[in-house]
């Protein structure tokens, strides 16, 4: 870990340009997480471990293993003893590896940014003692690392994230479907993608995730040019995914593009809101720590299950 943090941008955030010049993904993540070491998350689980949480009256169907027989002896009532789960959070990072992520008008691509973001999150959570898993996808599943909190797991995760984006198209539905099948325990699902795919299936799959109790956050990574479409001259636009060429005069097409783009973004946001998922549009020039703090602030504001339970 460097002695002094890299040059910070305005508002005290880390300059993204400086950050992205660091080659090691792990180091980048470490720098971003530095100063963020505040345990904010709480596990949605009340596991059974050393740290006592609360007592609850036994209801039929509870596992009789967890009945506190001492309390029964004292009070002749069945109480279930609840403990804080040792593994606080099971987080799955769903990272889009499709080719559209290779676009970037600046010095870094959306994929690089997404990887850094994913690494930051992973590092941040890992340091908290949370289990972090990874599922990278394009039109199919590319890599899957189940959520763990073992020494060396973070390293493996970083290596997996460092693989270049090589997929062709983006299909969000398939990885969401797959993750639903793979992960049964509730946890945090962080989808990092540009969502440049039809949103019609997004709702259904996200709904399944939330329905299974997962906490869902969607980071939408976008290039400023994708948002502004600030091209002047007529250009031959080449689609990296479909390899199609279109000759476009931006002056004429801009309005239409912006309209459709905004509609698409709004639809995605609406779906997330509807399902109670966090929706965070991120542009490549945004400092990562800002993104992270924005996210955490948003979670706090929404006052979901993450509020810390005070010990009795």
């Amino acid at each position: 870990m460097p002695e002094t943090p890299p040059s910070t941008a305005r508002d005290g955030f880390i300059d993204t340009r400086t950050l992205m010049q660091i080659r090691s993904l792990e180091l980048r993540a470490r720098i971003v997480v530095q100063g963020f070491w505040n345990g904010i998350h709480r596990s949605p689980y009340h596991g059974f471990s050393v740290e006592f949480s609360e007592y609850r009256q036994y209801v039929p169907g509870d596992d009789p293993r967890y009945v506190d027989w001492r309390v029964y002896a004292r009070s002749d009532r069945y109480y279930i003893k609840k403990f804080e789960d040792e593994t606080n959070l099971r987080c799955h990072l769903l990272v889009d590896q499709s080719r559209s992520m290779t676009f970037g008008s600046g010095d870094w691509t959306k994929a690089e940014y997404a990887h850094t973001l994913a690494a930051t999150l992973a590092y941040f959570l890992f340091q908290q003692g949370d289990a972090v898993g990874l599922l990278s996808f394009d039109e199919g599943i590319r890599d899957y690392l189940p959520a763990r909190n073992r020494p060396g797991h973070l390293r493996q995760l970083m290596l997996s994230l460092e693989k270049p984006a090589a997929g062709r198209s983006t299909s969000i539905a398939k990885p969401l479907q797959r993750i639903v099948e793979l992960v049964h325990k509730r946890g945090l699902m962080v989808l990092i993608s540009d969502l440049l795919a039809p949103v019609d299936q997004l709702e259904e799959k996200l709904a399944r995730l939330t329905a299974t109790g997962h906490d869902v956050a969607v980071f939408r990574i976008l290039d400023p040019r994708e948002i502004d479409f600030d091209f002047e001259d007529a250009l031959l636009f080449h689609d990296v995914e479909s390899e199609k060429d279109l000759f476009i005069d931006p002056a004429a097409a801009k309005r239409n593009y912006l309209k459709r783009f905004t509609e698409h973004g709004d639809a995605a946001r609406a779906i997330c809101q509807k399902l109670g998922a966090d929706y965070l549009p991120v542009t490549l020039d945004q400092p990562l720590d800002q993104v992270l703090s924005d996210y955490l602030r948003q979670r706090q504001r929404r006052g979901k299950n993450i509020q810390r339970h005070t010990n009795p």
């Binding site: 559209s100 676009f103 994708e226 001259d233 080449h238 990296v240 005069d249 002056a251 593009y257």
Partner: protein, 693 residues
């Protein structure tokens, strides 16, 4: 508008190039890789009005440039400028070349030639122009183009026919090559649009000379039509005079008898005939197979002047007679100025008088005059060489110099130191001191200048050895004191031995020793006589007449300024005007130039004329002459070619392509400027365009 090379107009298709390039340029201008086109519709950009206009202007300039280039290369011209029917220059220019050489005298030939000529005249249209040339060894104009045009149109053809009727075959040799070249030059004289034609009417005999035709640059559009006429009877034998040998029987003249390849006769008789006689009594028979020749000795000439050596039993008689002039040796007078006794074997005179022998061709007479006697006359044409052996009186000097100036050789032998005065006077230089050289035993000749005409005959290894001649004594002089003198030989002690001082057209040779035994071995050496003859030859002969000439060739007569001379010959008396010395003998026969000493010479038919077998077609083909085609298809091609030639001439005159190229260059400049301007100012052009949308 017509085009000379219309195929180049296809180059105009290249206009498609810029159009395509303009399109391609749009598509390939910039390719931008974008993340997704899902929000974009295939919407071809609307080009704003302003940029469209500018691009189109550039495109138009480029297209115009290509079109102009294609037009220039197709070489356009306006055919309407020339009205072929009214413009007399558009007609054909024809040169009729008529062979009048001796071989045309063969039976039936001339009649046929005349018919062919008339046929050629009939083919002419009123627009055509005609020149008639006759040729033997010389080419002469019977009617020129300007004469033709001077005549009123109805009179032209009759005048041409009349002039044709007036001529007949002569006696000259035939130089077909020269004649065709002259005709071609005549056609080339003025820039003429339209076909040009040379019609040659000839017997096309083997002896026609074709020199000069190979590789000649013929005028554009010229066509050569050969109309060969054939005699009624094939074969011919001819006589040719062989040079007499210097020694031998003067009365038996060697002659060469040639029989042509197509001859049927092999047996001939050779004898002397007088004019009017038909048969010879002393004829000898000669056997010459066809295509071969024999050199035979003519029978002894009978006494009398009018005899002609005649070949009998030949089909064509034009070349069967040889006129032989009686042999007269050339008189030569050599003057020696010296005070020596004729029989003094120790003196130079003794050896000089014996150096020249009398031959059949030259009668050399050595005349000795005392050096101190009155000045001698040196004005006769046979005075050829003057040798000075002793110091001469001053009044001699001017005459000697005059003699040299008129192109003769003078030899001054510096026999003693006393000759210094004579040398100084003759050379007209400052005093040239002479000293007796100190010779160690003997001196030899070295450093001979074989490039000088005097010594040139010795310039061969077997003749160039002068080391056998020993010189006991010689005089030494400084050649620098004789301005203009050239040292031809030196002694081995470095002193000049022989010098040449040019005086006027002649030479003063200075020998720094004598050839008498007291001075040297020169008189006894084998080089002595050739050296004297060489000196004699260097002097100009005053137009000595050869014994034998050919009809039609110019004869150089001896120059006699300011005197009218008469020449008697078969054509009668001919006056030779003063100053003129060229005579064209048209007829064979004996000619006598009336002078103080009448000179007779013979003129015969050129032996080339005897070679009457038809000329091999291969030799004509090899010359690559622009023959006019004969067949229908070829004639049509020729007609097309004629039209093409007319077009070419018109195009050359109008030169529209030059202007088109100028326009093209201007377009290139405009395009460069406009393109540069557009390139340099893309922002000012595109910004308002963006705003417009």
């Amino acid at each position: 508008m017509s085009f000379l090379t219309p195929l180049f107009l296809l180059g105009g298709l290249a206009i498609a190039g810029p159009v395509i390039f303009h399109l391609i340029r749009r598509n390939t201008k910039e390719k931008f890789t974008f993340s997704s086109l899902m929000f974009l519709k295939a919407d071809p950009p609307k080009v704003t009005r302003k940029s469209k206009l500018e691009d189109i202007l550039l495109l138009l300039i480029r297209c115009a440039l290509l079109a102009v280039m294609a037009l220039a290369f197709s070489r356009p011209f306006f055919r309407s400028n020339v009205n072929a029917a009214n413009d007399p220059s558009a007609g054909k220019r024809v040169v009729l070349l008529l062979d009048t050489s001796a071989s045309m005298q063969r039976k039936g030939l001339w009649k046929k030639a005349r018919e062919q000529a008339r046929d050629t005249l009939k083919e002419l249209t009123p627009a055509d122009s005609l020149a008639i040339l006759t040729f033997d060894s010389q080419t002469a104009a019977l009617m020129r183009f300007d004469q033709w045009h001077e005549l009123a149109e109805p009179n032209r053809l009759p005048a041409a026919r009349e002039s044709l009727n007036a001529i007949k075959a002569g006696w000259g040799g035939s130089h077909l090559g020269n004649a065709i070249l002259t005709a071609a030059e005549l056609l080339e004289e003025n820039e003429h649009i339209g076909p040009k034609q040379i019609v040659v009417i000839t017997d096309l005999q083997e002896g026609s000379q074709l020199e000069g035709l190979q590789g000649h640059d013929w005028p554009e559009g010229m066509q050569l039509t050969l109309k060969a006429v054939k005699p009624e009877a094939a074969g011919n034998a001819g006589l040719q005079l062989k040079p007499l040998q210097e020694t031998g029987d003067a009365e038996t003249q060697p002659v060469r008898l040639t029989n042509s390849e197509d001859s049927n006769n092999e047996e001939f008789r050779l004898g002397w005939l007088k004019s009017g006689q038909k048969n010879s009594t002393n004829a000898v028979s000669v056997y010459v197979p066809a295509g071969q020749s024999r050199t035979v000795k003519a029978p002894r000439r009978p006494a009398g002047r009018d005899w002609k050596l005649t070949l009998l039993d030949d089909a064509h008689g034009f070349d069967n007679t040889l006129h032989i002039a009686p042999l007269t040796p050339e008189p030569v007078r050599i003057h020696y100025l010296g005070n020596e006794q004729p029989d003094d074997t120790e003196a130079m005179r003794f050896y000089l008088e014996r150096a020249f022998s009398q031959t059949r061709l030259q009668h050399v007479n050595v005349l000795t005059h005392p050096a101190n006697a009155a000045p001698i006359q040196l004005t006769r044409p046979d005075d050829r060489l003057l040798i000075i052996g002793d110091a001469i009186k001053e009044d001699h000097v001017e005459r000697v110099r005059n003699f040299a100036e008129t192109g003769h050789s003078v030899l001054l032998t510096l026999k003693s130191e006393a000759m210094s005065g004579t040398l100084t006077a003759l050379a007209k230089s400052g005093p040239v001191p002479l000293t007796e050289a100190r010779v160690n035993k003997y001196a030899l000749l070295t450093h001979l200048d074989f490039e000088h005409p005097l010594l040139a005959p010795f310039d061969e290894p077997r003749f160039s050895d002068f080391t056998k001649i020993h010189f006991w004594k010689h005089r030494s002089l400084d050649p620098a004191r004789l301005p203009g003198a050239r040292v031809l030989a030196r002694f081995d002690d470095g002193d000049p031995a022989l010098l040449d001082l040019p005086i006027g057209r002649g030479h003063l040779f200075i020998l720094t020793c004598g050839w008498h035994p007291q001075d040297s071995q020169l008189a006894l050496a084998s080089k002595f006589v050739p050296l004297l003859y060489s000196m004699l030859e260097l002097g100009e002969s005053r137009g000595a007449i050869k014994a034998n000439y050919f009809a039609g060739t110019p004869i150089n007569l001896p120059v006699k300024p300011g005197q009218t001379r008469t020449l008697n010959g078969p054509e009668g008396k001919v006056e030779i005007p003063p100053g003129s010395n060229i005579f064209h003998a048209k007829k064979p026969g004996l000619y006598t130039l009336q002078e103080s000493q009448p000179v007779t010479f013979a003129v015969n038919v050129s032996p080339r004329e005897s070679r009457t077998s038809p000329l091999a077609l291969e030799s004509l083909d090899a010359l690559n002459l622009p023959f006019s085609p004969e067949t229908g298809q070829a004639a049509k091609t020729a007609q097309n070619r004629e039209q093409t030639l007319i077009d070419e001439q018109l195009e050359k005159r109008q030169k529209i392509w030059r202007w088109l190229i100028v326009v093209a260059i201007l377009l290139v400049l405009l395009e460069t400027w406009l393109g540069g301007w557009l390139w340099r100012k893309p922002a000012t052009v595109s910004e308002p365009a963006t705003e417009a949308t």
